[in-house]
């Protein structure tokens, strides 16, 4: 708990927590339940709804189960599903974004319309509707959360790829006879590491939130197996008599999401809180190059973030477009928006 509170403290400061520390915390949360003598499913009817004590650090629930054990094992469920869904979303998004950038023309148009359409519908709503069709277990949940989260990654990857495609080394590779696919896979994908790391962090926060919300609404992982979301289902009924039931999983969720947001200024929150650092004023002209048809795109693709997302290359400005850029390509500001 102390480590988590430290996380909240970091939010007020300006330095993001070290990734190593967060990784350690995550592995700790995932491994701890296997090492500790905790029994998240053990019912003890002599110890129902007990407040925190030496025996049960976070108290017990309505069936006398240890809350600490359930929160720790719940972390495994929530974070595990979150990580798997993130992996799926980022992989799919990278594939679609790469295909759109490399394919160009009709392929690009079709794929990006698909992205727009998928972005238009509120994802939680979509997941719930699917939950009505097939009652989800962990596998289905990973699939649903992953399949509703790939779009923003696809947009980011496509935008960055199109920028990279205009660079001289791509031209060199092409002159040496490399195919488009080979260029994409061997020369461009490695450049996306930083972008994908950021996209992954944003997705992880989203996936954790989505899993918790769905499980809370009763359509995710079913009790007695604990996740942070479904621990809160029961907690609400006992909020007047046993508040510790609600506090533990809730604080765990908030602290985790905060850490993810802070991590490497990755999340929108983290980046905005550090906006002062790289925040040389965006030229007005530049900002207004954007909004045409921008619609309800993900906010993280917006002009607000872009300058801090990628290395400070001048190609963002239409004026600085390299003259060997392929004919027919629009300015990169317009491209990144994928409108």
């Amino acid at each position: 708990m102390k480590a988590r509170l430290a996380g909240i403290g970091l939010a007020v400061g300006r330095r993001p927590p070290s990734p190593v520390y967060v990784l350690l915390l995550l592995t700790g949360l995932l491994l701890l339940p296997t090492v500790m003598p905790l029994h998240p499913l053990q019912v003890d009817l002599n110890a129902i709804l007990q407040p925190p004590s030496w025996l049960h650090w976070l108290g017990t629930d309505e069936n006398g189960r240890d809350v600490l054990a359930r929160v720790l094992v719940g972390a495994r469920g929530t974070l595990g599903i979150g990580l798997a869904a993130t992996l799926l979303a980022v992989t799919l998004g990278t594939a679609v974004g790469t295909a759109a950038a490399l394919g160009g023309g009709a392929v690009d148009a079709v794929l990006m319309r698909g992205v727009d359409a998928a972005l238009a519908f509120p994802s939680l709503f979509a997941i719930l509707l699917c939950a009505a069709v097939l009652p989800p277990g962990p596998g289905e949940l990973i699939l649903l959360i992953g399949l509703t989260g790939w779009m923003s990654t696809a947009r980011l990857v496509r935008g960055r790829m199109q920028e990279l495609l205009a660079s001289p080394y791509v031209e060199a590779a092409r002159a040496l006879g490399a195919s488009r696919t080979a260029i994409g896979v061997w020369h461009l994908l490695p450049h996306l590491r930083a972008l994908l790391a950021v996209a992954g962090l944003v997705q992880l926060a989203r996936a954790i939130l989505a899993e918790a919300t769905i499980s809370f609404l009763g359509f995710g992982i079913q009790p007695p197996a604990p996740t942070w979301g479904n621990l809160l289902i029961g907690a609400q009924d006992y909020v007047f008599t046993a508040p510790w039931l609600a506090l533990a999983p809730g604080l765990a969720l908030t602290a985790t999401l905060l850490l993810l947001a802070m991590l490497g200024s990755g999340g929108p929150a983290g980046r905005l809180i550090h906006s002062e650092r790289g925040g040389a004023g965006t030229p007005y002209r530049d900002r207004h190059a954007r909004p045409r048809g921008a619609g309800l795109g993900e906010p993280r693709c917006s002009r607000l973030h872009k300058p801090r997302l990628r290395s400070p290359d001048p190609s963002g400005s239409p004026l600085a477009q390299p003259f060997h850029a392929e004919p027919g390509r629009r300015s990169s500001a317009a491209r990144t928006e994928g409108a």
Partner: protein, 317 residues
């Protein structure tokens, strides 16, 4: 402008049509299906299920079902709720006022609060107010709304006993306006919090940029008063990203209402959705997704039109 509007409207109609077809097909592919839910596990036999499916027309081929449904849709006939045995449209519309009240007020509150906080923070950049506002916003963003709602109930209802924890109003008696407001406060705050927070952060970032702009320096040199400088000149420069985020939020109030209405037992569309998913009440779910799609498409349209209006240089593609 008219051509632009026409194209956008056509796009919106297309999106909505695709959505309806997709949702329809997805729901029809369900294992189990409504017959199972209607009968319940103990009365379920294949013969009874077949009879119900015949009655509801569920045994026909999918394209025929879709065709019939679209025909009925065009006549304003949206099928009847499997659970309530009443027209699905009526089931949804009677829940509409509660959701519109909560969602509409929450949208206005988050817009006003978020923009005001963002502007305030940007003006006092790097001061204590700014730091506190930003930290508060980030904390709110990292708090899932269901947990925020439960936390508020815990503090304000359970410990301090200031506000009621659930429902529209006191049970079994006519509520005064004040009573109703008391019941509204917690769900309202829970629903607006994260939207206000994100809006505040984006507004702040946009305003920090806007305040550095040459136009502001010029206005200042020409003697514009500070208040007018910030709220008129700088806010106009920052308006486009703010409108985008606000429009995005408008669409996502639907998601918020799913959770908030469940936590606070608010009898609106969100609660109905969750219950209908559990009951597999497909006609109701179809009407709700139609409604959700319409809201999303409308919000999109609104943002695009506002962009055009705010900045004439924005050209429709």
């Amino acid at each position: 402008m008219l051509g632009f509007l026409g194209r956008r409207l056509l796009q919106a109609a297309l999106t909505l049509g695709t959505l309806v077809a997709l949702v329809f097909l997805a729901l029809r592919l369900a294992p189990g299906g409504p017959a199972y839910v209607l009968l319940g596990a103990d009365r379920y036999t294949p013969e009874r299920a077949a009879r119900i499916e015949r009655q509801l027309g569920l045994d026909r081929p999918l394209p025929e079902q879709l065709g019939r449904w679209v025909r009925e849709l065009a006549q304003g006939e949206l099928g009847s709720s499997v659970f309530h045995h009443r027209p699905a449209l009526a089931v949804v519309t009677e829940r509409l006022p509660a959701t519109l009240l909560l969602g509409g007020l929450a949208f206005l509150l988050s817009l006003a609060g978020g923009v005001a906080a963002g502007v305030w923070a940007a003006v006092r950049r790097e001061g204590l107010t700014d730091r506190l506002l930003r930290s508060g916003a980030v904390l709110l963003l990292a708090t899932p709304s269901f947990w925020l709602g439960i936390g508020l109930i815990l503090v304000l209802s359970a410990w301090l006993r200031w506000l009621p924890s659930a429902g529209l109003g006191p049970v079994g008696q006519a509520a005064t306006l004040l009573e109703r407001v008391r019941y509204l406060l917690l769900p309202l705050f829970t629903l607006s919090a994260s939207h206000a927070a994100s809006l505040a952060l984006y507004t702040r970032a946009a305003m920090v940029d806007a305040l550095r702009h040459e136009a502001i320096r010029t206005a200042q040199a020409m003697g514009a008063r500070p208040r007018r400088l910030v709220w008129r000149h700088a806010l106009a420069l920052a308006a486009v990203p703010i409108v985008t985020i606000a429009g995005l939020n408008l669409a996502h109030f639907l998601e918020g209402s799913l959770v908030v209405e469940s936590v606070f037992a608010w009898p609106g569309i969100g609660q109905l959705t969750v219950a209908s998913v559990a009951r597999r009440d497909y006609p109701v779910l179809l009407v709700i997704s139609l409604f959700a799609g319409a809201v999303v498409v409308l919000a999109n349209l609104l943002v695009d039109v506002t962009h055009r209006w705010l900045d004439p240089r924005v050209v429709a593609e």
